[in-house]
């Protein structure tokens, strides 16, 4: 990490004026103050991004280990050893928890949010830079706590990422007296970090926009991160309260979720999913925003119906608060409730489908350049569609009786979360890399990495739809005890998925090498390598402290997607160019 940041620093000082706006008390900070104690939104974004990438390696390794166990039950797994069921449970639990809370959220919301919001709205930093720094520090602490909980001698918590009590609330049932509590503490701390970050994002966008930037002139990715932050703030309260109740149940013997003491285990499920479903959109929307920005730039087109696009995101956000019980159809809630939640759940298909239609319509009359970021953005739409349509099966209560807790669900949500957290992230990283590090990534290696990721991805998860249809239930470390599930045909599907996963993981090495080598050796990018309109491309690459010289902060004159406007010599029209 230090090399990377030294590089950024050298770049900073190679630009004359960056000395100019380093003046307000930021000289001679020393390495630690500059990179570990910084209040600069760009440094904090990098901290979030590298922490998220490191956690992705951990989560990916967990997936490798438990997929090996599923493909070759009882085998001595290279890098792990022979796996028992307790280890298996801990790995699937922490794979899910880490990938959502410590990979998708920090990278999509915190890293892109921190990096892009001030640059895209044309201001020098977040309005609360110290709260921003605190947000990352709390987040880092939470990441350390979750890693410690997994590494404890007693073993990590294995009660699934949903942590349903009474299993999660009583160590007599889960046999993990310490890691059960550390797991909840880590998740709670992570929520605090993102509340601090979210406050900052919302306040900054409401107050610090460039002069002239109206609500519909804000680029999609910024809007989406703001909506995500609002959704997160509105939904996380109940679960944070629930997490504290769960810790009390675990440690001081209260009985909020214990039926023997008059509590109710279903209460946790309501609190969890009241947060858990909006959470899906908290990570989905930023990925949609990234896709919109990348698609506009490389199709040289205005987003088709940009206002409608934003309205679909608002509608999705509002509806997401009324669908949570579709995760609980068969959990023992009043069966009449399922009918209401089936209706609300299917209603959400309307705005989401409309958003997909808008993406597709944007391509009409375009001039599509298939660069690496564009490939990722297009893949997001193509793959997310599969996740979207398979969700209908699960939202329809009658069909969910069969599919609930099977691999059909696993395949479905990986077809949503993978496009969001992995494809969306790669689209964003490859698109903004020139701005972040001042150099271009290799397009050829980027495309090799793209195909080496997308093709195996489908081979991992398409078999899981069929395994789910065959009745394979989730979170089972070996199917040898189930005659219907231990047939050679099904085992071959499991082996196929595992081999595809390993192939995909190997291709990530190409990305890491491309990332690191391009940082030092890549072609110099210049301010606006993609000929894009939004304000971040008017700053230096990489931008110095304060983003623009203090007296040269940009003004905004038009919307973010004026590509191909008739009557102009160039096919783009930057937001800061006076009419």
């Amino acid at each position: 990490m230090s090399d990377i940041e030294t590089q950024v620093a050298t770049e900073d000082h190679s630009h004359d004026h960056s000395h100019g706006h380093d003046d307000h008390g930021h000289h001679d900070q020393g390495w630690f103050m500059k990179y570990c104690w910084s209040t600069d939104h760009k440094i904090i974004a990098m901290q979030y991004m590298f922490t998220g990438m490191a956690m992705a390696i951990v989560g990916g390794f967990f997936a490798y280990a438990f997929r090996m166990q599923l493909a070759f039950p009882g085998a001595d797994i290279p890098g792990w050893g022979v796996m028992n069921s307790a280890e298996y449970n801990s790995l699937v639990t922490n794979h899910g928890t880490i990938m959502i809370f410590w990979v998708a959220m920090p990278v999509l919301i915190a890293a892109f949010g921190n990096y892009l919001i001030p640059l895209m709205i044309g201001c020098d930093d977040m309005v609360f830079p110290r709260i921003n720094r605190l947000s990352y520090q709390v987040f880092l602490l939470s990441a350390i706590v979750i890693l410690v909980s997994v590494a404890l001698p007693e073993g990590g918590f294995g009660g699934a990422w949903t942590a349903y009590p009474p299993l999660s609330s009583d160590s007599a049932f889960n046999l993990r007296p310490t890691s059960q509590t550390l797991w909840v503490v880590a998740v709670g701390l992570e929520f605090v970090a993102f509340l601090l970050g979210g406050i900052n994002f919302i306040t900054t966008v409401m107050n610090s926009r460039a002069p002239g930037m109206g609500m519909f002139d804000i680029p999609a990715v910024v809007w989406m991160i703001i909506i995500a932050s609002i959704l997160f703030m509105l939904s996380v309260g109940p679960l944070l309260a629930g997490a504290i109740m769960l810790i009390f149940d675990q440690t001081i013997g209260t009985g909020f979720f214990d039926p023997k003491q008059g509590g109710d285990p279903i209460l946790w499920q309501h609190l969890f999913w009241f947060f858990g479903h909006p959470e899906v959109y908290v990570v989905l929307l930023p990925a949609c925003g990234i896709t919109a920005d990348v698609m506009a730039t490389f199709s040289r087109k205005k987003i088709f119906g940009y206002k409608t696009f934003l309205y679909t995101a608002f509608a999705t956000g509002i509806l997401s608060f009324f669908v949570w019980a579709h995760h609980q159809f068969i959990a023992g809630i009043d069966p009449r409730m399922a009918n209401i939640f089936t209706v609300t759940t299917l209603m959400i298909s309307v705005p989401i489908a409309e958003m997909c239609f808008l993406f597709i319509a944007t391509l009409w009359g375009a001039s599509i350049r298939l660069t690496t970021p564009m490939l990722w953005a297009l893949a997001f739409v193509a793959e997310f569609l599969i996740g979207g349509v398979t969700g209908i099966f699960l939202g329809a209560s009658g069909a969910d009786i069969w599919f609930h807790d099977t691999y059909f669900v696993v395949a479905h949500f990986h077809y949503t979360f993978y496009p969001i957290a992995i494809i969306g992230t790669f689209a964003g990283v490859t698109y903004w890399f020139p701005k972040m590090f001042g150099r271009m990534m290799s397009d050829t290696w980027g495309k090799i990495h793209f195909w080496g990721t997308i093709i195996p991805f489908n081979f991992i998860f398409i078999p899981m739809f069929f395994l789910g249809l065959a009745g394979q239930h989730r979170r089972i470390y070996s199917y040898e005890l189930f005659p219907e599930l231990s047939t050679p045909a099904l085992q071959n599907l499991r082996i196929l998925a595992t081999c595809a996963l390993i192939t995909m993981l190997i291709f990530q090495v190409i990305f890491l090498l491309n990332f690191i080598i391009s940082m030092f050796r890549g072609q110099k990018a210049g301010k606006n390598p993609w000929k894009a309109n939004t304000l971040e491309w008017t700053a230096d690459s990489p931008p110095g402290h304060g983003n623009w010289p203090p007296d040269e902060l940009p003004n905004c004159y038009r919307g973010p997607y004026e590509y191909g406007t008739p009557g102009r010599d160039t096919d783009y029209w930057p937001q800061d160019e006076p009419s």
Partner: protein, 233 residues
């Protein structure tokens, strides 16, 4: 690869799934087809400029809004069929004269099943104070008679479990402190997997049982042997 549905409502669930597959499959193929066709048709080429289509006029937006109405209509169809099946499985309890009752109990990490004995009564009551004496207890084996409507009473002794029989297309979580009623009517004989589908701890992966659907004669024979064993205890 797919096991056949062997309950009455299992076939209705299969129909619902097929219906949804046709509807969403149509949208999926049209969307992906259009998407890839547009990527090919509008690839960057010399001499082809971008069209300026903001998509903000009514004329442009009709392409979206028409598809939108179609989605709403399809949603209505899916909701109607989904709710119909849901009500059949979860909100109705067919009560013919001869409905059998079986208690299903989940605990870490086994299923136990309690059948009424020769008297045909599962629960003790004022009218039948000794009804439970001849009840038949089985662990990890559920024996049922084909073509018979069964009511199940689902309980848990410790954490959440989930009764799941893929061939029945049935799933229902068990919650400690509650008894949940439901029903099924198996239509074919055979031996089928019975799973726990809710994470229940370290032994979740080994918490499996078997369902034996037997002809009336075989089932009566089984009842007779196990009933007498229980009576001898």
């Amino acid at each position: 690869m797919l096991n056949e549905a062997i309950t009455t409502y299992g076939k209705d669930i299969d129909f619902l799934v097929a219906l949804i597959a046709v509807i969403v499959g149509f949208f999926w193929i049209v969307c992906e087809g259009l998407f890839f066709w547009l990527i090919w048709k509008f690839r960057a080429r010399d001499g082809h400029d971008t069209k300026y289509v903001p998509g903000e006029t009514k004329e442009e937006k009709k392409w979206i809004s028409r598809a939108h109405v179609l989605i709403l209509l399809c949603d209505v169809v899916i909701v109607v069929f989904a709710v119909k099946v849901w009500v059949e499985v979860k909100q109705t309890l067919p009560e013919p004269e001869n409905a059998q009752v079986v208690r299903v109990i989940g605990q870490q990490w086994a299923w136990s099943f309690e059948h009424p004995g020769a008297d045909g009564v599962l629960e003790a009551s004022e009218a039948h104070p000794n009804a439970t004496d001849d009840n038949i207890w089985m662990v990890d084996e559920l024996h049922l008679e084909v073509g018979q409507i069964y009511h199940y009473k689902l309980e848990s002794r410790d954490v959440l479990h989930s009764l799941s029989i893929p061939a029945f297309r049935l799933k229902q979580d068990a919650i400690p402190g509650r008894q949940i009623m439901g029903w099924f009517k198996p239509l074919e004989t055979g031996k089928y997997d019975f799973q726990c589908a809710e994470m229940c701890g370290i032994g979740h992966g080994v918490m499996g049982a078997q369902v034996y659907i037997e002809t009336p004669e075989n089932h009566a024979a089984w009842m007779a042997t196990h009933g007498s064993v229980a009576a001898n205890d």
